[in-house]
């Protein structure tokens, strides 16, 4: 016995201790009668979980282990949270945040050294098994999710009312009557749903497999619909509409996956890409799959004209949910779209046909036509979204329309991606960039725009949700001049507005700069024009959003109408630091443009 103990390694000691802690916590939690005892038990369980993770990380390759744990740890905590009482669920949220942050670090640092991380789940290599893969694109989206997710979690812990409203029954005063039903602020189901959503987001970002990506998108879509519905009665109709769109989009994507696996014989994204490049016989199936998947994903990103669902869903969702939907959930579908186009379709479409080939491939004309379709819709999104944002009288729908407008930016680069002629311009001395560098700059610029939007939109939606919580309304007319009382929120709004408008310094500005460089090199001058117009329009709706809040010359008749502010608790005042931090990050990340470009080179197809 002594011999055995002395041969144990440090991680095994950790594991043993962790097992004791988990067991003790679990037993106590199930048996304890009162909430305080359960809370303590929950913390014991949580520390056991953390200890297990540390021990496990020490035993296997740290980054590979983290890749799987990024999905499974939040899912495990979400499942456990279902059994916990409401206060302990907030603790579970914080445990999950710490865990995910600790797991993101090794993945991002490993990718930053230039090495993509791969993990064959279950030890079975593709095409038989599923490979998880994190390259530069994955690492950047993981990082965005961790930063936004962690900060919103902290906000939701501090302001439980931002998690929705729940229906509770109260015993009626007259006996024999049906119990009265009342809406109360705060919904405990936020925690399992949001942690499940987080797990799904991570699953999409680290997936190297088409079907697994579909399952991840389903987890994200379903939990997002559930999170919208937490907003109470007004949100239910919006949530149902969102559900139909999400399911329809997912079905189109699934049909595309089936076509691709039938044509290429593999579900692995990189392997499928190699088969398509090598075998022109797969091109017709791949073209059809690409069309279906692109339409399905564009529905979920809310590209005009498929944006109708987004406005009610994002504006009626609870205060802590809207930022997650706008900053992260639609980005999951966009991420998959980037994967498909940049990694799968574009390399195959750009291959020059062999001289003397009888039939030319359909993939090239289809991708070119589709890319122009996406770009035209992107321009339409910028115009329609911005103009409608300018016409809104309420804060949250205004921000939702600005999401529609910003989504337009992300579709402008598609024609550059599949433009076979762009390298011809090298000789015209317009630029020294090579063809690959043009594609790299266009993609990197778009990704920087997406990341910048994630940070600033989270800040803006949190501020809007906070004001709605304090004043009970988000009508701009009734919120006139309230900004004077909330300097930190106004500062957050201003800083985030810099990011939304995409002026220096912000990551969105670096993104625009890089996209414009690529556009000039490939001769697509129209993109530069669209971006200038879009910047002006977005500056317009940022002003439309901020200026009424800062007006101090409120007319007298408004004085009576103005809604009284609910007194804020100390925690709620502290929560204002969260959007403030995000606003600060919007500006500070403006200096990371080069780092984003370096990260994108890791595992890039060009």
């Amino acid at each position: 016995m002594i011999d055995m103990l002395s041969t144990l390694t440090v991680p095994q000691w950790y594991l043993g201790l962790a097992a004791v802690l988990v067991a003790a916590g679990l037993i106590r939690m199930l048996l304890a009668a009162d909430h305080v005892a359960r809370l303590v038990a929950m913390n014991i369980l949580g520390s056991g979980t953390l200890l297990t993770l540390i021990a496990l990380a020490a035993r296997s390759e740290e980054a590979e282990f983290s890749l799987g744990a990024l999905v499974l740890a939040p899912l495990l905590i979400a499942a456990v949270a279902v059994l916990l009482p409401a206060p302990a669920r907030r603790g579970a949220g914080l445990v999950a945040t710490t865990t995910v942050a600790a797991l993101t670090w090794p993945v991002v640092t490993t990718v930053a050294t230039g090495q993509p991380v791969e993990l064959a789940v279950g030890g079975y290599d593709a095409p038989l098994g599923i490979t998880l893969r994190a390259d530069g694109l994955s690492a950047l989206f993981l990082l965005l999710t961790t930063v936004v997710g962690a900060l919103v979690t902290v906000y939701a812990v501090l302001v439980p009312a931002s998690t929705g409203q729940r229906l509770v029954s109260e015993a009626s005063s007259r006996s024999g009557d049906a119990p009265d039903l009342q809406w109360r602020p705060g919904h405990p189901a936020f925690w399992p749903l949001w942690l499940g959503c987080w797990s799904g987001l991570n699953a999409v970002f680290v997936s190297g497999d088409l079907f697994n990506t579909y399952v991840g998108l389903e987890v994200v879509g379903l939990t997002a619909v559930g999170l919208v519905a937490l907003g109470g009665r007004p949100a239910w109709r919006a949530a149902l509409r969102y559900l139909f769109v999400a399911v329809a989009g997912a079905m189109l994507f699934l049909v595309g996956v089936a076509l691709l696996v039938a044509a290429t014989g593999t579900l692995d994204i990189l392997q499928a890409g190699q088969v398509i490049q090598a075998d022109p016989g797969t091109h017709s199936a791949a073209a059809l799959a690409l069309v279906l998947m692109t339409v399905g994903l564009a529905m979920k990103v809310a590209l005009v004209p498929m944006h109708g669902w987004l406005i009610p869903a994002h504006s009626n969702a609870p205060g802590a949910v809207s930022p997650l939907l706008s900053a992260l959930v639609i980005k999951a579908s966009l991420f998959v779209l980037l994967r498909l186009w940049v990694w799968l379709a574009a390399p195959a479409a750009l291959i020059e046909p062999e001289p003397g080939a009888v039939e030319s491939s359909v993939l090239e004309p289809v991708t070119v036509a589709l890319s122009w379709g996406l770009a035209v819709l992107g321009v339409a999104a910028i115009l329609v979204g911005s103009l409608l944002a300018l016409r809104q009288n309420r804060l949250k729908p205004l921000i939702a329309y600005s999401t529609v407008a910003q989504a337009g930016y992300w579709f402008l680069f598609f024609p550059i991606l599949v433009d076979r002629e762009s390298d011809l311009l090298e000789e015209q001395a317009v630029t020294t960039l090579t063809d690959d560098a043009v594609i790299a700059a266009a993609t990197t610029g778009t990704v920087a725009l997406v990341l910048g939007h994630g940070l600033s939109k989270t800040a803006v939606f949190l501020v809007a949700g906070h004001l709605k919580h304090v004043y009970g309304t988000d009508e701009l007319a009734r919120l006139r001049g309230v900004g004077v009382r909330h300097p930190r929120l106004m500062m957050a709004l201003g800083l985030a507005g810099v990011g939304l408008a995409g002026v220096p310094f912000s990551l969105a500005f670096s993104g625009k700069w890089e996209l414009a460089t690529a556009a000039v090199s490939s001769g697509d001058m129209w993109i530069v024009g669209v971006m200038v117009l879009a910047t002006l329009l977005s500056a317009g709706y940022v002003l439309r959003m901020v200026s009424p809040l800062l007006r101090t010359d409120a007319p007298s008749e408004d004085e009576e109408e103005r809604v009284p502010a609910q007194p804020q608790t100390r925690r709620e005042r502290a929560a204002q630091l969260v959007p403030f931090t995000l606003g600060g990050l919007t500006v500070l990340t403006g200096f990371t443009g080069f780092w984003v470009a370096d990260m994108m080179e890791v595992g890039a197809p060009w």
């Binding site: 499974l72 899912l75 729940r166």
Partner: protein, 189 residues
């Protein structure tokens, strides 16, 4: 296939080669259950005690006859999965049907559902993930069960997954059993 500890091709794909997908799909069902519960009042399984409409007695006799058979069929499908067609999803659907039938026939399952509903809903996913951590414990990949006891682990996971799937489907049914009732109740409040 024998390397995976399972004889049937489909089961081997579902549980071994693509077990990670199966886990996430069970999570979808679990979270769908959570969504349905969150829309109800008091965030719980209160609708199980809603009174059921009177039914002709013939249904009661029918239930008495079919309930044990359904249970047997569900279990057979579960265990048959390792050698022929069958498995957790089919078995879970049969067992959920059994619960719905019992409730409709007036058998009192309300207390059982209220006490055990939530634990049974999540147990499959929790144990699946914990079992998946055996891999990293042995210095291998997540969800790899490359050992002598692989069959025992897979069987345990499969049984608990079946319970989770059955509970998830039953909870979905409960949440949708009378959508008009809650809305009417709220409208009158």
């Amino acid at each position: 296939m024998p390397a995976a500890g399972l004889e049937h091709d489909v089961s081997a794909v579902l549980l071994a080669f693509r077990g990670y997908d199966t886990l996430l799909e069970s999570a979808v069902l679990l979270l769908a259950g959570v969504v349905v519960l969150s829309l109800g009042r008091d965030g719980g399984l209160n609708q199980v005690s809603d009174p059921q409409p009177e039914l002709p007695s013939i249904l009661n006799y029918f239930t008495r006859l079919t309930a044990p058979l359904l249970l047997l069929l569900g279990l057979w499908l579960l265990f048959a999965g390792s050698s022929t067609s069958g498995g957790a999803f089919q078995s879970g659907a049969i067992l959920a049907g059994l619960m719905i039938l019992l409730r409709t026939a007036g058998v009192n399952v309300a207390a059982f559902t209220r006490t055990w509903g939530l634990p049974l809903l999540v147990v499959g996913v929790i144990v699946f993930i914990l079992a998946g951590a055996i891999g990293p414990l042995a210095g291998e990949a997540w969800l790899s069960w490359d050992m002598d006891a692989a069959f025992a682990v897979i069987l345990t996971v499969e049984v608990l997954l079946t319970i989770g799937i059955a509970t998830g489907l039953y909870v979905l049914y409960l949440g949708l059993s009378d959508p008009g009732r809650r809305i009417r109740e709220e409208a009158t409040s």
